[in-house]
């Protein structure tokens, strides 16, 4: 606590001052690159034990209040299928399903998911190893190159169809807009979603 610079003690005021002083507007106009990772090395307050059902299994873990869901998944549980891209909720690489809805797990505190149900990419294939239809469709359609955004894309794609927002290509693109792909595999991602949608309807 004593290491905290005093000018940050009043969040609203200091943020406003920072924003006006630098003409950078957090949120609407993007945040500057920051010391996101540095916090982990500092002495911390109490951890707490929480229980989250992940891919159908109840998992207990000990996390700090500031631990994000994606950090809990990757660092606490070793489930590295969910990726951290921007860590600011803009790229969608960390997309998971929380209680059936897609969320950015980097913008969700793990403690906020307490008692909830999470589905990650590790939970999609059936126990015999057969891939989820969306995973197969991504492979068949070359819907990735480097693959880093793929776990988030696949979770988001499943939700896109479940929500009923896969009516046509334009709608798919709109409702997949939260998942960025730097390789530019978008046409193939859309093709994969169309294929799964059609197979489900058939």
């Amino acid at each position: 606590m004593s290491k905290r610079p005093p000018d940050l003690r009043r969040p609203g005021v200091s943020r406003r001052g920072f924003l006006q002083g630098s003409s950078v507007v957090a949120g609407s106009l993007g945040l500057a690159a920051g010391e996101v990772r540095a916090a982990a090395a500092e002495p911390t307050s109490d951890t707490r034990n929480i229980e989250i059902k992940i891919n159908g299994k109840t998992r207990n873990m000990s996390v700090e209040p500031r631990t994000t869901l994606v950090e809990a998944l990757r660092d606490t549980l070793g489930m590295t299928g969910t990726k951290i891209g921007c860590n600011q909720g803009q790229c969608g690489a960390c997309t998971v399903l929380l209680n059936g809805s897609r969320v950015n797990s980097c913008l969700t505190l793990a403690v906020m998911a307490e008692g909830g149900e999470v589905v990650t990419v590790e939970g999609l294939a059936d126990p015999s190893g057969d891939l989820h239809p969306m995973q197969s469709a991504f492979a068949r359609n070359d819907a990735f190159q480097c693959g880093y955004c793929t776990p988030g894309q696949i979770l988001s794609a499943i939700a896109c169809i479940d929500e009923g927002h896969a009516g046509n290509e334009a709608e798919i693109r709109e409702y997949m807009s939260g998942n960025l792909c730097r390789c530019g595999a978008y046409p193939n991602i859309v093709a994969a979603i169309v294929q799964v949608r059609d197979s489900q309807q058939g």
Binding site: R4, L8, R9, P11, G12, S14, R15, R16, F18, L19, Q20, S23, V25, A26, G27, S28, L29, G30, L31, A32, G34, E35, V36, A39, E42, P43, T44, S45, D46, E64, P65, R66, T68, N87, Q88, G89, Q90, G92, T95, L98, S101, R102, V103, N104, C106, L107, T108, L109, V111, M112, E114, S156, A159, C160, E163, H165, Y175, S177, G178, N179
Partner: protein, 262 residues
Amino acid sequence: MYDFELTRPGTLDEALAALRAEDAQPLSGGQTLIPTLKQRLAMPSVLVSLTGIEELRGITREDGALRIGGGTTHGQIARETADSFPGLSHLAGKIGDPAVRNRGTIGGSLANNDPSACYPAAMMATGGTVITNNREIAADDYFQGMFTTALEEDEIVTGVRIPVPQSSNYQKFEQPASRFPLVGVFVARFDGRVGVGVTGASEGGVFRWREAEEALGSDFTPEALKDMSHPADGMISDLHGTAEYRAHLIAVMTRRAVAAAT
């Protein structure tokens, strides 16, 4: 993120009690606050999560208006107002992306008052009311500049009341990465009155374009604004666009909104 404690009260009273702790701050959907914490631009001692408070969620119809709980997500507003208030539904359904809309809340957005947030434009155009734990604040009095509102230290946005217009439309010129509006204009037409709320454009935050409201009040057509332009004084200039560009967009977006709402 700096270290903090977190509580998840189940009632508004418990939340208000928790907020009395020094440097306590409410946490709603967290879609702005958590990135802000990651940048170490805020340092609350305690975050008081509002997401467990049932009374803050939901949409009800009351006498020509919608009453929306502060903890209602953008996604829920987009889905549940599609028939009762299509202009608002469209606005909510274009905020951020689906994952953000599943977490972010109207109360959080209004308490934050980002100068490019979408809801404030609708609140100003419709003459909406922000409801807190101890009073009701008219939109004209509530928004007081970038990230500045009439909220007191221990006040929570418990809900809003938004009059439902005869017709309305929201047009935003998106900054393509964040999908925040470079300029967003909400036009609301009531019996005998037209409201025009402009977000994203001004250094003073959201505002009503009163000249346009007057012109549209007697002639609700895009042509009524044909010779009208908004001055560039006081508009935001940044890497996304100059003040002159934003001023130009205000008139363009207003005409488009009127055309779509007619």
